[in-house]
């Protein structure tokens, strides 16, 4: 079966090698031939929203079929944010991110990209135009493998460039930007959404103050994402850079406890709520309060703050999203001998992006599908086992995914000493006044184009609006919010 990449003119020896390599790494390169260019991937992609001139995945793969040589030199090859929104909406379910990653590797190996460092420099300059933390973004999206032994040629080149840029960053003297406008703006939450909005607004000349409940800024980048995917040092440097630009970040200040929301309203002309979604959902199952049961976020948080939590030998992770994958792989790294993931639907329905699932399985983590815990059994407050039940899939529910229905009588128990719950997080919106309209899942209701909440002058974006999502989506939300706030202030309240 021929592959779409480098298909024409067919029979060219170099492209045949590329096609062989690609078919080894990911199946979807073959399925790409079925694409009839409907444009759904480009429409759903947050990166296209940020870099419309540089990046269009549909056009990229069409050109890759007709003129591979030329297209591999384009910036488009490097900008995919591995967020898999395209995969979820494509009629054929094509996994474009994996193809991009494999294509980069193969292109480098086949010598199509002689000078990778200068290409990456070019990419970083593009990213700097639109991103407040280009290095954090690159680390997350170029995904250099952290184990020395398994690193590819490309990984090493990438790491060199990133390390060097990190060093330049530290040396660079940054003068705070002039404050052009009198208005003072408040941002609640210093996650990717909050930081991006602050960076955009400070560049427009506004006075920006970020309020962060935790001791360290960064939100999910700090607590949620494990060290092996994003070294904290990179985060610190880039946040420092934003601070130097003149953004005031007040940590350890929780709105609703240290300051009231209404006091902000009086003092600041506009407020951007970007508190993310950190409250782990509970399973409502007997034995959930036993000591060995821990929430995924808490585990990741402890690990990130170098507290080195001690998970037991046999760990069971409940849930199928990215957080579950990170928690399971972190547990392994923290000394767990055997880690199992239990997910109540089937592989296609897993919300986690397929690459994370693959890497988790490659780490030796076993994933059990169509399984849900019924009871957590404990002996003197220690988890000893978990009673689970098999599920089958019924007709689609409101979210369009098939509803899992328990099969009575299929209960059985698994011995384990730690249970990590990763069944999704919801925002903590207790600090908000009634006027701010919420949905049933406690996310904030906003106008999809302007991100304005039901209260005029109050905007919201990131996970607090969309529920748990990827970093790039939060960044895109931050940028949109900044533009809306600017327009709001210029037009005297939109």
């Amino acid at each position: 079966m021929s592959s779409k990449i480098g298909r024409f003119p067919s029979g060219n020896p170099r492209t045949i090698k590329i096609q062989k390599e690609l078919s080894k790494r990911s199946l979807d390169a073959e399925k790409l031939v079925y694409c009839y260019e409907c444009g759904t991937c480009t429409a759903a992609c947050p990166v296209v929203k940020v870099f419309p001139r540089h990046y269009n995945p549909r056009v990229f793969f069409e050109k890759a079929s007709l003129d591979l040589e030329k297209v591999l030199t384009e910036a488009g090859l490097w900008l995919c944010a591995i967020c898999y929104r395209c995969h979820k909406r494509c009629p054929h379910g094509l996994k474009l991110p994996e193809i991009f990653l494999s294509l980069r590797e193969v292109a480098v190996e086949q010598g199509y990209l002689p000078d990778v460092p200068s290409k990456l420099e070019e990419i970083l300059t593009i990213l700097r135009e639109e991103f407040p933390f280009p290095l954090v973004y690159s680390w997350l999206c170029l995904r250099p493998c952290e184990e020395e032994s398994k690193r590819s040629k490309l990984d090493n080149l990438v790491l060199d460039v990133l390390q060097r840029s990190l060093a330049d960053y530290k040396k660079k003297e940054v003068a705070p930007l002039p404050k052009v406008h009198r208005e003072k703006l408040a941002i609640i939450g210093s996650g990717p959404a909050g930081l991006t909005a602050a960076w955009e607004l400070v560049r427009m000349g506004f006075q920006v103050t970020i309020f962060e409940a935790l001791p360290e800024p960064g939100g999910m980048l700090r607590v949620g994402i494990p060290e092996y995917r994003l070294p904290k040092e990179v985060l610190d440097v880039e946040i420092e850079y934003i601070r130097d630009l003149g953004v005031e970040i007040r940590t350890n200040t929780t709105i609703g406890k240290d300051l009231t929301f209404n006091s902000l309203l009086k003092e600041y002309k506009a407020i951007f709520i970007a508190t993310g979604a950190h409250r782990s959902r509970t399973l409502h199952v007997e034995g959930e309060d036993i000591e060995g049961v821990v929430h995924a976020l808490d585990l990741l948080h402890q690990a990130n703050l170098q507290k080195r939590p001690r998970p037991g030998e046999k760990v069971g992770v409940v849930g199928g999203g990215n957080t579950a994958m990170d928690a399971a792989r972190t547990a392994l790294r923290l000394g767990a001998k055997e880690v199992n993931i239990l997910y109540r639907r089937s592989r296609e329905e897993m919300p986690a992006n397929p690459l994370e699932v693959e890497e988790a399985e490659r780490d030796g983590i076993k994933i059990h599908f169509l399984l849900t815990p019924r009871k957590i059994l404990g002996k003197n407050k220690q988890v000893v086992a978990m009673e689970c039940i098999r599920m089958r899939l019924g007709p689609p529910d409101e979210s369009g995914r098939r509803r899992p229905i328990p099969i009575e009588g299929s209960e059985f128990t698994i011995e384990l000493d730690t249970t990590i719950l990763a069944i999704g997080e919801s925002p903590d919106v207790s600090f908000l006044p009634e006027e701010v309209e919420l949905t049933e899942q406690n996310t904030i209701v906003v106008d999809p184009l302007t991100l304005e909440t039901s209260m005029s002058g109050v905007f919201a974006g990131g996970d607090v609006v969309s529920g748990p999502a990827t970093v790039i989506e939060a960044i895109a939300a931050g940028k949109t919010a900044a533009l809306s706030i600017d327009r709001y202030l210029r037009e005297g309240g939109v």
Partner: protein, 443 residues
């Protein structure tokens, strides 16, 4: 030497336009026809449509005469509200067991006057109006229903659920209401069987980013037909389900669940490009200064006069066609308007389009009942669940069982003229096979 066996009879399963055409062709030439329909009235999917392309005829106006011809034809026995239970035998001598589900209304007495339906206290969503309009527990699905006989919905009728009420029985001058009616099993001996059971539409919530059921103003094309129809829930005014306002910007989205290897089905449902254009024109007819968009991938208009119809839609009616499949639809919580994010693939720009209403054109899918019917008749289903013909080119209406024929959308998505031609074809094949079998036995 003409060998036309007038005494043989044919069973037609499914009372849509295909079943009606096959029955009329056979009955006109002297065969006895039993037309079995599972709902209380024949008419099928076409009866639910408001207009048809490319002539914009009013659908029921051109279908009603044929339905009434079926009802009055001496050679046709209408068995509505009935199901095929079991089939045995072979071509020339099939024995078919039919279950006549109880209507709890005596068909010979009911005149279809409708007083019972006015007074019945129970209100239920009407299946005919795709749950947009409502009907009573004792109801007639639509004004032009054939036969024009009331039917009692056992699960919601107060008498059956709480043994009270019985208003319909008291009011009925024809004394036609009979709560003691039992399912009736009859056996028919027929020489050939024609299956014309039609199709269903995919539930578009499978493509959840389009928000069907989550957003009030996202509706399916069949729901649109009912809204646009004069005897529909809103009396022919296409209104938004959120606030009842007449939309002045409407977007149609093609291939929802079709042409995909991931979610939904992988084939093209072939009629949606045309009916979307028709529905767009209906909007422009009601509201000339409204704006209508159609998001498509390949405009498939290759039937007779179809391309002219599309050209007219573009030039005379100003319908705007955008090549691209939307990536996301979000809802503005305050106004319940919908914002469509789509890449206009010919200009390669991703644009947002704010509209008042979105109409999804979902994929044609086989009916649930196909499985059971294929077991009864021992005829094969294809990998999608439609009935499989012997050879899609040389024997388009034959099946693996001699004497059993399939026509219309039960064997694959197609439009009305193809279904009607195929129905006549199935009738011709039935007569031919009966004649050949009779001749073989005569030798």
């Amino acid at each position: 030497m003409i060998l036309l066996t007038e005494d043989s009879s044919v069973l037609v399963i499914g009372g849509g336009v295909a079943g009606i055409q096959a029955s009329l062709d056979l009955a006109d030439r002297g065969f006895r026809v039993y037309l079995v329909e599972e709902t209380p009235s024949i008419g099928g999917r076409m009866a639910q449509l408001d207009k048809t392309f490319p002539t914009l005829d009013c659908s029921i106006c051109i279908l009603a005469p044929k339905m009434i011809e079926c009802f009055r034809h001496p050679n046709i026995t209408l068995l509505t509200y009935s199901e095929v239970k079991d089939v045995s035998g072979s071509v020339g001598k099939f024995a078919v067991k039919i279950i006549r589900k109880p209507r709890f209304v005596d068909e010979t007495k009911c005149t279809g006057c409708g007083t019972c339906t006015q007074k019945c206290p129970v209100v239920e969503p009407s299946e005919f109006d795709v749950l947009l309009g409502d009907r009573k527990a004792i109801y007639m699905p639509f004004p032009q229903a054939v036969p024009r006989i009331a039917t009692i919905d056992k699960d919601n009728c107060l008498y059956f659920t709480r043994a009270v009420c019985k208003i319909c029985q008291k009011l009925c001058q024809a004394d036609a209401v009979d709560f003691e009616q039992k399912p009736q099993e009859i056996t028919l001996n027929v020489s050939a069987i024609i299956v014309a059971t039609g199709f269903d539409l995919l539930n578009p919530s499978v493509i959840n980013e389009y928000g069907y059921q989550r957003y009030k103003n996202v509706i399916t094309s069949l729901e649109f037909e009912r809204l646009a129809n004069a005897s529909g829930p809103t009396g022919g005014h296409v209104t938004r389900l959120s606030d009842g306002r007449i939309p002045d910007k409407v977007a149609f989205i093609q291939c929802v669940g079709s042409r995909g290897l991931g979610r939904g089905v992988s084939y093209c449902s072939s009629a949606c490009c045309m009916y979307a254009t028709k529905e767009a024109i209906l909007i422009k007819e009601h509201e000339p200064d409204s704006e209508v968009f159609i998001f498509y991938i390949d405009l498939r208009a290759s039937g007779k006069g179809f391309q002219d119809f599309i050209d007219r839609a573009k030039e005379n009616w100003g319908i705007q066609y955008i090549r691209g499949r939307p990536g996301e639809i979000l809802e503005d919580p305050r106004t319940k308007d919908l914002i469509i994010f789509c890449e206009h693939t010919v200009s390669r720009e991703v644009r947002e389009l704010r509209v008042d209403m979105v109409v999804l054109c979902p994929a044609f899918v086989p009916k649930e009942s196909n499985k059971k019917l294929s077991e009864n008749l021992k005829i094969r289903l294809d990998e999608y669940g439609f009935f499989k013909n012997e050879d899609s080119m040389l024997a388009p209406v034959d099946t693996n069982v001699p004497g059993v024929f399939i026509c219309g959308c039960c064997q694959g998505p197609k439009d009305i003229p193809e279904s009607v031609a195929e129905a006549s074809g199935a009738a011709a094949r039935a007569v031919e096979v009966i004649a050949l079998t009779a001749r073989k036995e005569a030798q």
